[in-house]
């Protein structure tokens, strides 16, 4: 049975909008022991959530005073607006802030507003504005710089990376233990998680790697590249990318890639959307056509594209397109999955890099909530879910001396399945060994299979 820490004083959180993100948030936050009220206009959605999770439901328009009062906004700590409509989200947060001291997080997806996100956030006094499509695009773009990796996330303000790679057959680190890897290849990286046959391990020194393992590596970006090169991974970055579907996430991704000098081709069915995209992204090649038409894909050069990224709104199409691309070329593939219900099936398919925008959004909000609950002495900067939320990588800023500071790591009694994988000390990145010490002011990343850490002290037994 997973151990869920129940805090005596969970936050009172109101979540407006019982869509996919709303449900994911309810699931994660209620597991972490917060008092949650879910608000939605549709009674059946609210009822479903209220009987599945330990939360209270409230039916009504979340942007009205009466509904918000009924949901208990007056003594709420946080309101999260994730309805379909940006305008409703903003209105909801604004009204809540009028008569409550709560913090507010709103989802904002429309590119028109996102350019003014900072202005909106400051004038409306919101704590956070989240653009899931933009965040997903950022994460996807990072993996395109290191195309041999399955996933790349940055932390500690970009000083270090978490990279997920799959060990191919016959690689030199096949059948190598973690300790041998340290002595033979490099000491400057840390393997903080291994997924094998559907199970996740946090490996010790005697753990033997095998071909087919998916490993998560923590290192600075320079050491990262050296490591990948030394184990024989090609490091050439991509020059062009083909994106199927012209939705919001395609726009954001194309925008990022073009700025990095990568040429982008977008295939979109709707002519008017194509025209609009052409105005927004003058440097991109916009093709008006059905991206699921294999003839068209061949014609547009799927075989020679460095990266192939299906971003249609339909998961099944994305999966089929990704599998199709795998069949006819060895391009780098990124597959976006919106629904989280079939993770086990998605994992069993070879889909290249898989992204769940939902988890990316939920991670950001979770990091915020955990930081808000944290005891004084440490602050959460980021929370990443690894291996489909079976493990978490949490970055803490150590702001005060505590039990964990000033002692060599080997003297600390650290919980099972928990690993200190990075220490940022005075701008210097340390991949820690037993003799390293955490001091005040450091940034520390912990990888753990436990859930609900909100304070660096939680890693101790």
């Amino acid at each position: 049975m997973p151990v869920f820490k129940t805090r005596p004083a969970g936050l009172k959180i109101i979540i407006v909008g019982a869509g996919k993100v709303g449900t994911t948030l309810v699931e994660q936050l209620s597991h972490e022991g917060h008092d949650i009220t879910i608000v939605d206009k549709v009674a059946s959605k609210v009822n479903d959530i209220a009987t599945t999770y330990d939360v209270m439901g409230c039916v009504g328009n979340g942007a009205t005073y009466l509904t918000l009062v009924e949901a208990g906004v007056k003594d709420a700590d946080l309101i999260i607006a994730v309805t379909e409509s940006d305008e409703l989200n903003l209105l909801c947060c604004t009204i809540a802030k009028q008569f409550s001291n709560c913090s507010a997080i709103s989802r904002l997806r429309n590119p028109d507003y996102s350019k003014e996100a900072n202005y909106l956030r400051e004038t409306l006094g919101l704590s956070m504005l989240i653009n899931p499509d933009h965040e997903a695009a950022k994460v996807m773009s990072r993996v395109l710089y290191i195309p041999t990796a399955l996933e790349v996330r940055s932390f500690a303000h970009g000083q270090a990376l978490i990279t997920k790679i799959k060990i191919p057959e016959g690689n030199i680190i096949d059948k190598m233990t973690i300790a041998e890897l340290g002595s033979k290849i490099t000491n400057n990286i840390l393997i903080c998680g291994v997924e094998r046959d559907g199970s996740v391990f946090i490996p010790g020194g005697s753990f033997e790697l095998a071909a087919g393992d998916i490993i998560t590596v923590v290192a600075t970006s320079k050491e990262q590249n050296n490591f990948l090169k030394s184990i024989g991974f090609a490091m050439n970055t991509i020059k062009d990318a083909m994106i199927i579907g012209g939705g919001r996430s395609s726009y954001y991704l194309a925008d990022i890639l073009i700025k990095k000098g990568i040429s982008v081709k977008i295939i979109e069915k709707d002519l008017r959307r194509c025209e609009h995209l052409n105005e927004l992204l003058p440097k991109a090649t916009i093709i008006n056509g059905d991206g699921t038409n294999t003839e068209l894909l061949l014609e547009e050069g799927i075989k020679n594209a460095d990266a192939f990224i299906p971003l249609t709104g339909i998961d099944e199409q994305n999966v089929m397109l990704s599998l199709h691309a795998k069949k006819i070329s060895d391009t780098k593939r990124i597959t976006k999955i919106n629904r989280t219900g079939f993770i086990d099936i998605v994992n069993s398919l070879d889909l290249g890099s898989v992204f769940y925008p939902m988890f990316i959004t939920a991670d950001m909000i979770l990091a915020y909530v955990r930081a808000k609950t944290a005891a004084p002495g440490s602050n959460i900067e980021t929370v990443y879910h690894l291996f489909d939320s079976r493990a978490e990588a949490i970055t803490f800023k150590v702001t005060d001396d505590s039990k964990i500071t000033g002692k060599p790591l080997k003297e600390l009694k650290i919980k099972k399945n928990t690993l200190i994988s990075y220490i940022g000390h005075n701008g210097e990145a340390i991949i820690p060994t037993g003799n390293d010490v955490i001091s005040k002011g450091d940034t520390v990343m912990v990888v753990t299979m436990q859930t609900g850490f909100d304070d660096i002290g939680d890693i101790l037994e």
Binding site: M1, P2, F4, T6, G10, K12, S30, H31, D35, I36, T37, A43, A50, T51, T52, Y53, D54, V55, M56, G57
Partner: protein, 478 residues
């Protein structure tokens, strides 16, 4: 079907019952009647087997609707089976059927007794009898939810199955806190009543037993004549607390949150108050000629209206001797019962409100066939599902009522006796009219009738479905 979770919850219930059964042991030591041994043995068995069963915590802790209903039905049966053992083993109630009847009557807060001489029981047995009312009043699974942290949020289904009312909701986001708040309100009110009864000159034991009986809206008294020999002060205290325990507990929570206006404006609370007042006044007018002073007539009419409406079933007067109008009104009130979300039984005031409003809506739809009009409660439109399940509930309720009546009629007693026997058991009241009136008991009925009435009590307390679902063959298919 999550059998492991069902096993786990059943064992938790057994463990809790075992611990609660240690209280009568304590009483036995205080009064030195030697009965505690039997309670101690049963408590030991419950605690040990409960602990063993609870040791293996199931990985999958999900409780879906069907698990919620099944485990609730089973818990109550298991609880009653073990609860009746001390009565039976000690020989205070020699027949097993009678012992089981008496215990179910206790847990379901019915208060119908098969005993002709209550005063002949030991203090220990009297205490356990009354204490079962208190346990059953708010419900043992709600108690479990308040005590034991369970992962997953689907355990709301446990509370939905056990708590009365057409739509059970939470007071606060966390179910554990909701259950805790309910029990705290319950305990405070019980304590208050005990203190008031102590002021009335009763000793601590009597006050506690009567407070348990009132709190659970049960009705087991500790004297053979129930309340008839108590003074006016004690009657008023009991009557007022019966009124309070028949109220929707949501109202108390709102008052705790200082939303007095909202609490008093709850539609169900207002209607409950109105019905109680009108009934009291009519009965008062009818029975006034039988009394010497208007005040005693008022006391008895209010007491009897409350005891029947809250489905407690104490007797302050032999209302079997009252005029027919008064008796019929009492029968109506037996059907109605208390508010949803209270400790009382019956059909519940809120269901009647919904039924009345659907009736009005139907009539209007006959006059204006295209009318669009939703059934509303507290100004909010109700889901069609709630309205539908309310009407189905009433239909099921009538079927069970009529079927039970048919079986009980095999004993060949008069219609009033058979009718009110089923009425008083299905609605968890206790005394009926004629041969089962407030001065009589159920001891003379045949074994078959007793078993049917036992079923009725359980079905009535759990609002039919948790018990009916146990009879559905598809539940046992894989």
């Amino acid at each position: 079907m999550n059998n492991r979770m069902i096993r786990y919850i059943l064992c938790q219930v057994m463990r809790i019952e075992g611990v609660l059964m240690l209280l009568p042991c304590l009483i036995s030591i205080i009064y030195g009647d030697g009965e505690g041994m039997y309670y101690g043995i049963v408590a030991g068995v419950l605690i040990i087997s409960g602990f063993i069963g609870c040791h293996f915590v199931p990985k999958d802790q999900s409780i879906n609707v069907k698990e919620g209903y099944t485990v609730t039905g089973l818990s109550w049966i298991v609880m009653s089976l073990f609860g009746c053992l001390p009565f039976w083993l000690s020989g205070e109630i020699p027949s097993f059927t009678n012992a089981f009847y008496e215990t179910v009557s206790g847990f379901t807060t019915t208060g119908a007794s098969i005993l002709s001489d209550v005063e002949g029981l030991t203090h220990t047995a009297l205490f356990w009898r009354s204490f079962t009312h208190w346990i059953g009043g708010m419900g043992v699974l709600v108690f479990l939810l308040a005590l034991i942290p369970m992962s997953g949020g689907s355990n709301i289904n446990l509370m939905k199955a056990e708590s009365p009312g057409p739509s059970v909701g939470k007071l606060v986001p966390k179910i554990r806190k909701t259950a805790l708040i309910l029990y705290v309100i319950y305990m405070i009110l019980t304590l208050l009543e005990t203190v008031f009864l102590l002021f009335g000159g009763l000793n601590l034991f009597d006050s506690l037993c009567l407070a348990f009986g009132t709190a659970g809206t049960g009705g087991f008294a500790i004297r053979n004549d129930s309340f008839m020999s108590y003074g006016l002060y004690i009657r008023w205290v009991a009557a007022i607390f019966m009124f309070l325990f028949g109220l929707n507990f949501n109202a108390y929570y709102m008052m705790l949150m200082r939303q007095f206006k909202k609490a008093l404006l709850m539609e169900e609370v207002r209607i409950y108050f109105l019905i109680v007042t009108i009934s009291t006044l009519i009965i008062f007018a009818k029975i006034l000629p039988m009394y010497e002073t208007a005040f005693t007539a008022m006391t008895d009419s209010f007491f009897q209206v409350m005891t029947v409406t809250s489905t407690t079933g104490f007797g302050s007067a032999d209302f079997d001797l009252w005029p027919t109008t008064a008796k019929v009104i009492l029968c109506f009130l037996m059907f109605m019962g208390a508010c949803a979300g209270s400790t009382g039984g019956g059909v519940k005031v809120s269901r009647l409100i919904i039924l009345w409003k659907s009736f009005v809506r139907e009539i209007q739809a006959l006059i204006h066939p295209k009318i669009v009009k939703k059934v509303k409660m507290d100004g909010k439109p109700l889901e069609l599902d709630v309205v539908r399940s309310t009407t189905v509930f009433l239909a099921t309720y009538m079927i069970i009522f009529l079927a039970s009546l048919l079986v009980v009629s095999l004993d060949n007693y008069d219609l009033t006796t058979s009718f009110t026997a089923v009425l008083a058991n299905l609605n968890n009241i206790g005394p009926g009219l004629s041969l089962v009136g407030p001065t009589c008991n159920y001891g003379f009925l045949s074994g078959l009738s007793k078993w049917v009435l036992t079923f009725d009590m359980l079905a009535g307390r759990l609002e039919l479905y948790p018990i009916l679902v146990l009879l559905a063959p598809s539940l046992y298919k894989k």
